[in-house]
């Protein structure tokens, strides 16, 4: 049941998780997200918190609210998300990772590198 850490508020962590799923194409652009109640039941989180998470996605332009129909993935959301995640990885996570690889003496030949697509 407990799989939330203390890095950020719960709604933010949920938003991040949903964003990761969007990146994977679930649900695809133009399709509807599960309803607030469905998400609440799935993650066992208060519906109000789920709404805040969805609002965070709306604020990032990844998701839009269609009156009476729920939340839909916006067109181009996947690309936009990919771009921001790429930037974040390259600017924040990669330098630390590269330093670590250096420390461990791992070269690109050691890495099991495949085209990720």
């Amino acid at each position: 049941m407990q799989s939330w850490n203390d890095s950020a508020p719960i709604y933010q962590q949920l938003a991040d998780r949903l964003a990761v799923q969007l990146l994977d194409g679930a649900p695809p652009e133009g399709e509807a997200l599960p309803s607030v109640r469905q998400l609440a039941g799935q993650y066992l989180i208060n519906p109000l918190t789920v709404s805040r998470a969805l609002q965070a996605l709306v604020d990032k332009g990844l998701v839009e609210s269609r009156r009476g129909q729920g939340m839909y993935v916006t067109a181009g959301a996947r690309d936009r998300l990919r771009r921001t995640e790429r930037t974040r990885f390259l600017e924040r996570e990669w330098p630390a990772l590269r330093a670590r690889l250096g420390r461990l003496g791992i070269s690109s030949a050691d890495l099991d590198w495949k085209d990720t697509q």
Partner: protein, 290 residues
């Protein structure tokens, strides 16, 4: 209109004070957690809310006086008391029949529908059910009452993980629709944290915190820091200091500490368990508006 209005509620048993000048309001569409250690006054408060205990002060539940209009109030809310035991001699379908006759807002069809989610059969005798199944059955029966307010007193006490999970799933799926409110008391804070929208914290009869989780994220600041910075952090008088797994130190402040203190570490989420520990061992804070 708020579903519950409590003002200066006080309850005394002889020399012991179970509740001391407790005031709060509870609106609709929320999941309120009533947190407190054993003996903090949670059960006393809940019994007062359903008219089983008399109190000093003003109390209005669903617009009614719980003590004087007890029967009418009970026909408008759902209540599972602490260690409530369903009558062991009864079969589940008999309980459905009895509740249909006693509780005007009860829907037998809804009860049967909710029971399908559990592994409890209509023909089962209560005494043949495991503890977890009894609680699930009880919740299914109670959730079939079309009421605005549900009061649960430590409903998952003594249950295994699967039963607890099933319980919370039923609650979220079938009950929380934005119009109804649940007040759930527990001392298993970590489990219930994500379900809550608001928190009432009791410590020895006094209300030490009354806040929405959203406001809690903003009001309380938790800092994760290198153990070497411990003294510097302590100098800023946090509410609580503790060790994280992995050896890092952590501290919770009420309000944002000065910048130089913030610079000593990273900001993390103040989780409810730690806040609970911090507040139920120290003098009361001024309760914020919820």
């Amino acid at each position: 209109m708020n579903l519950i209005e409590a003002n200066e509620l006080t309850l005394r048993y002889g020399k012991k004070t179970a509740l001391e000048r407790v005031s709060f309001s509870i609106p609709k569409g929320r999941v309120y957690g009533l947190l407190g250690h054993n003996g903090a006054g949670k059960t006393s408060l809940m019994k007062a809310l359903v008219g089983l205990l008399p109190t000093d002060g003003q109390l209005s539940v669903l617009g009614l006086d719980p003590r004087r209009q007890r029967t009418e109030l009970l026909s408008q809310l759902c209540y599972i008391p602490d260690v409530a035991v369903l009558p062991r001699w009864a079969r589940v379908h008999e309980l459905i029949t009895l509740m249909s006759g006693l509780q005007p807002r009860f829907s037998a069809d809804r009860a049967r529908q909710l029971l399908k989610r559990t592994s409890v059969g209509l023909d089962d005798k209560v005494k043949s059910l495991s503890k977890g199944m009894v609680v699930q059955a009880h919740l299914a029966l109670i959730a079939a009452i079309d009421a605005k307010l549900m009061i649960l007193d430590e409903p998952t006490l003594g249950l295994d993980v699967m039963s607890r999970k099933g319980f919370y799933e039923l609650l979220i799926d079938e009950w929380c629709d934005g119009e109804r409110t649940v007040l759930i008391s527990t001392h298993q804070v970590e489990e219930v944290e994500t379900l809550l929208s608001d928190v009432l914290m009791l410590d020895e009869g006094r209300l030490v915190l009354n806040i929405s989780l959203q406001d809690m994220d903003q009001r309380f600041v938790a800092l994760s820091h290198d153990p070497a910075q411990a003294d510097a952090v302590a100098a800023a008088h946090p509410l609580l200091r503790y060790r994280q797994t992995g050896g890092r130190g952590a501290a919770i402040f009420d309000g944002t500490p000065p910048e130089h203190v913030m610079g000593l570490g990273e900001r993390i989420r103040p989780n409810l368990v730690d806040l609970f520990m911090a507040l139920t061992r120290k003098p009361a804070l001024a309760p914020s508006q919820s």
